[in-house]
């Protein structure tokens, strides 16, 4: 019973705190140019702010000034209302999760002991720290059997998860993550990113996240701060704003020529205007269906069942019969969902070499049809300023023969 209430207390958590950079400048001794130049940035509580930029842009220095592993030369960083300069560095750091690319697990301590590091520094008793470690192992999806292993006995992905768990151990209001997934292979990186985003919906920490990878920034960030060389803030915006309206040539360059395609990664199928296909029902007169085909957005009839769930596309030969048969020549695949990410939807279309795909709602009922043309038009629209649409202009086959 005591245990249950304690866990509840931990889960309720400490509220996330905002982080505010106020005209922060960092000069390293012996360097003429400041590494960070008058940086001002507001990170709202509970948001993921990604600091991204080329090497030499000072993104890691900017991150480390928050926990004072790098000292501020001028200006200030506020956590909530408190200046980090007024805090004892060691105490300040115990209130911030810290994840680095090299993970930095202690090789001589077990997984559980690693996770217990900050709670022990904060003076929690052994039992409470142990309980918290077990709870976190569950949260990051690692089996309890790993708790007494040494880090060298874990895979890279498992080590990185333990690194995240260790950072979360004392339920810090702020998390600092310095290229946390930079050292893992691409497949594991994607998995870790997704896991962290899922975790973040539960824990709602304020996260400062450094990366040099713009794709990772777009994926992870609620907001992205793009830093230029010398630590100048080039743009601070949501991923969509960044892709739609880069503030200057540097940002445009950094975001990349394929930023229109990247935007697709941020959109869901429901965000775009879908076309409607003429619907046909089993037993309906084909003449009626043919009549609907004239001037329709989609020049093919879609057979749906009584629940309006797509069954397949009707071909010319299907329509030669008197009435619509229950088994059309062509199935409805690829079948998309309104919540699918646009980039994945496009990939499905390209892969199945069809031009149209029925889109269904959560109940599986037809909501519209997505076509290559819609995406192409969207990418070609002035707002998306497509520069490289060659990729999607490859010839595609019609879903119907002849």
């Amino acid at each position: 019973m005591i245990a249950a209430s304690r866990i509840a207390e931990v889960e309720a958590g400490r509220p996330a705190a905002s982080v505010s950079y106020q005209h922060v400048t960092k000069r390293y001794p012996g360097q003429d140019e400041p590494a960070i130049h008058d940086l001002s940035l507001e990170v709202e509580a509970g948001e993921i702010c990604v600091l991204v930029g080329p090497s030499g842009s000072g993104k890691t220095s900017a991150l480390r000034m928050v926990n004072r592993t790098v000292e501020i030369t001028e200006g200030d960083v506020l956590i909530g209302d408190t200046s980090v300069r007024d805090r004892d560095p060691a105490r300040l750091r115990r209130e911030m999760g810290y994840v680095i690319q090299q993970i930095g697990l202690f090789p001589h301590r077990t997984v559980a002991e690693n996770i217990e590091t900050v709670p022990r520094l904060l003076g929690w008793d052994r039992a409470r720290a142990r309980e918290r470690a077990d709870e976190l192992l569950g949260l990051i999806g690692l089996p309890q059997s790993l708790r007494d292993r040494f880090p060298s006995q874990l895979s890279g992905g498992q080590q990185q998860r333990v690194g995240v768990a260790r950072a979360l151990a004392a339920d810090p209001p702020v998390m600092l993550m310095d290229e946390p997934f930079g050292a893992v292979d691409p497949i594991n990186r994607e998995r870790l990113q997704n896991e962290f985003l899922r975790l973040q919906t539960e824990i709602r920490k304020t996260v400062l996240f450094v990366t040099h990878d713009i794709d990772e920034a777009i994926k992870m960030g609620d907001r992205i701060a793009i830093l230029e060389e010398g630590g100048r803030l080039a743009q601070y915006a949501t991923p969509a704003e960044l892709l739609m309206a880069p503030a200057n040539d540097f940002v445009e360059d950094f975001v990349g020529a394929d930023r229109a395609l990247k935007r697709l990664a941020l959109m869901r199928v429901r965000d775009i205007d879908l076309w409607q296909a003429p619907l046909a029902f089993v037993g309906q007169a084909t003449a009626e269906v043919r009549a609907k085909l004239d001037g329709a957005e989609v020049p093919h009839a879609l057979l749906v069942d009584s629940q309006r769930r797509p069954v397949g596309w009707l071909s010319e030969s299907d329509l030669r019969a008197e009435t619509v048969a229950a088994t059309p020549d062509t199935g409805p695949e690829p079948l998309l969902d309104l919540d699918d990410v646009m980039r994945d939807a496009l990939a499905d279309l390209l892969q199945s070499e069809t031009q149209y795909a029925p889109v269904t709602d959560a109940d599986g009922r037809i909501a519209g049809v997505l076509s290559i043309e819609i995406i192409s038009e969207f990418l070609g629209s002035p707002e998306a300023k497509v520069e490289e649409h060659a990729a999607i202009e490859r010839p595609v086959e019609q879903p119907l023969g002849e």
Binding site: N67, T69, P89, A90, R91, L92, R93, R94, E95, Y98, I100, Q102, I103, G104, L105, F106, P107, H108, R109, T117, V118, L121, F150, P151, S152, R166, A167, L176
Partner: protein, 247 residues
């Protein structure tokens, strides 16, 4: 070396070792034999005191050497510019020949345990110091970064991260220092301490004696080395066997 021994011969004479007369007479006839078992069994108790003395001397000397080297190493860990200074200083001390060292100390500490302990501890400094420094330097940067970033103070980082991770190298240093101290400790007979060197030098022409005294000394080195190796494995369970094999 022979000259040196001749010079200190009077010192050796002062050590009350054992009664030479008669006991080994039956063995003298078999002078050609390397080892005279009967004599060894009859006279084994002669070696008990020298053996215990030597063991005690080694343990005390290594303990004191470790304590001093540890303080030096921690000081120079905080002030890196001290490293070359301490390395050079302990290095110079290490080059002093043992007999010369005893004579250098004669006017100050005279003959006896104090002199022997000083000489032996000083010789361990170089090896132990360098191993502690190397061990601390080899602690992975990212472990230190993570520790500091999570809010460890310098002291907490030292005791909870750096020293535990340096432990295998530190113990490796202790092992070398212990083995060499066992060897040099036999010479402490010249400081008038009844170590295994005493029977060794007194009957240098009696092979059975050489085999027993020398053998006990070697055995002591092997046993102490093995104990430290066991300690290392117990204290550093995270090291995989493949890594331990390198030490």
């Amino acid at each position: 070396m022979t000259g040196a021994i001749a010079t200190v011969a009077p010192l050796v004479g002062q050590v009350e070792i054992h009664n030479r007369t008669g006991q080994n007479a039956p063995c003298q006839a078999q002078e050609g034999k390397v080892f005279c078992l009967g004599w060894a069994i009859d006279n084994f108790d002669r070696y008990t005191t020298p053996l215990l003395n030597q063991l005690f001397l080694v343990l005390i000397a290594v303990a004191i050497g470790f304590a001093v080297a540890f303080v030096f190493a921690i000081l120079s860990h905080r002030q890196q510019w001290l490293v070359p200074t301490f390395t050079a200083a302990t290095g110079v001390l290490y080059t002093i020949p043992s007999l010369a060292f005893i004579f250098l100390l004669l006017p100050i500490t005279g003959l006896g345990w104090t002199t022997a302990i000083i000489v032996l501890s000083v010789y361990t400094l170089q090896i132990i110091y360098r191993n502690i420094v190397a061990g601390l330097a080899n602690v992975p940067m990212d472990s230190k970064d993570a520790g500091r970033g999570m809010g460890m103070t310098d002291r907490q980082l030292l005791w909870r991260v750096e020293l535990p991770l340096a432990l295998p190298e530190i113990i490796a240093g202790l092992r070398i220092a212990t083995v060499s101290t066992v060897a040099i400790s036999t010479l402490m007979v010249f400081a008038n301490v009844n170590t295994l060197g005493a029977p060794l030098y007194q009957q240098i022409d009696f092979k059975t004696n050489i085999v027993i005294a020398g053998g006990l000394s070697i055995l002591m080195a092997i046993v102490l080395d093995a104990l430290l190796l066991v300690a290392q494995r117990l204290l550093a369970p995270w090291r995989r066997p493949s890594m331990e094999a390198l030490i």
